[in-house]
């Protein structure tokens, strides 16, 4: 019975709500997601507000002297992190569509994201 308890998979949601580069939260959030992905947990990543900008295509950071990381989001698939959700209103307010993003994501309404949040065992906001 203990062994069943030990391997209980938890639903863990990471929420990325900050723009990239201006602060480190999204970058260090991604570093955390990559490590957690190596454990057997049920991980989802949600992009809300300026967090959707972290997926914007065409980021070239060399002229500010900071390492870019947009491409790393594409690597999440290889870690079996496949549940990437984007808030529809956040995209719309920025005049963006799925085509502007570096990875394939599922676009959801705030209401649906709220219901997903409610199901989680753990939510980590970055």
């Amino acid at each position: 019975m203990d062994s069943v308890q030990d391997i209980k998979i938890k639903k863990i949601m990471h929420v990325l709500r900050h723009a990239p580069h201006g602060t480190i939260y999204t970058y260090e959030g991604l570093e955390m997601i990559l490590i957690m992905a190596t454990y057997d947990q049920d991980i989802s990543v949600v992009f809300i507000g300026d967090g959707v900008y972290s997926l914007k295509k065409g980021q070239e950071t060399s002229s500010i002297g900071i390492k870019g990381f947009a491409r790393t989001f594409s690597a999440l698939d290889g870690y079996d992190v496949e549940k990437l959700y984007v808030d529809q209103l956040s995209l719309e307010e920025r005049g963006l569509t799925k085509d502007d993003l570096v990875v394939d994501v599922e676009v959801l309404s705030s209401e649906n994201i709220g219901m997903l949040m409610k199901e989680q065992d753990v939510i980590i906001q970055h």
Partner: protein
């Protein structure tokens, strides 16, 4: 799900974003600079009324006292740190930052 918000609504969209995702019935706890949202008579009074129709609203009394906010919107419940813990006992936590 317990939502916590620690930013003033005047400078920051955190509270507004939080309520967009909170499911009806989910309690929202205001802490730190977040408590300014429920100061009576400020320009968020009607927004607070609207939130209260859907979600119970709590504010951390030590943070209210520290900021000299003695009169708050009606319908908002104040809690101390142990009241914060009680809410955490009853719900998983979503800390909006």
């Amino acid at each position: 799900m317990l939502h916590t918000v620690n930013k003033s609504p005047f400078g920051n969209d955190t509270l507004e974003t939080c309520i967009r995702f909170a499911v009806p019935g989910d309690p929202i706890l205001l802490i730190e600079d977040g408590v300014y949202a429920v100061q009576a008579g400020n320009r968020f009074a009607s927004m607070i009324e609207t939130i209260l129709k859907k979600n119970p609203l709590y504010a951390l009394q030590p943070d209210l006292s520290a900021r000299g906010i003695s009169v708050i919107s009606s319908g908002v419940t104040t809690v101390d740190y142990e009241g914060f813990v009680e809410l955490v006992e009853q719900h998983q936590v979503n800390s909006w930052l």
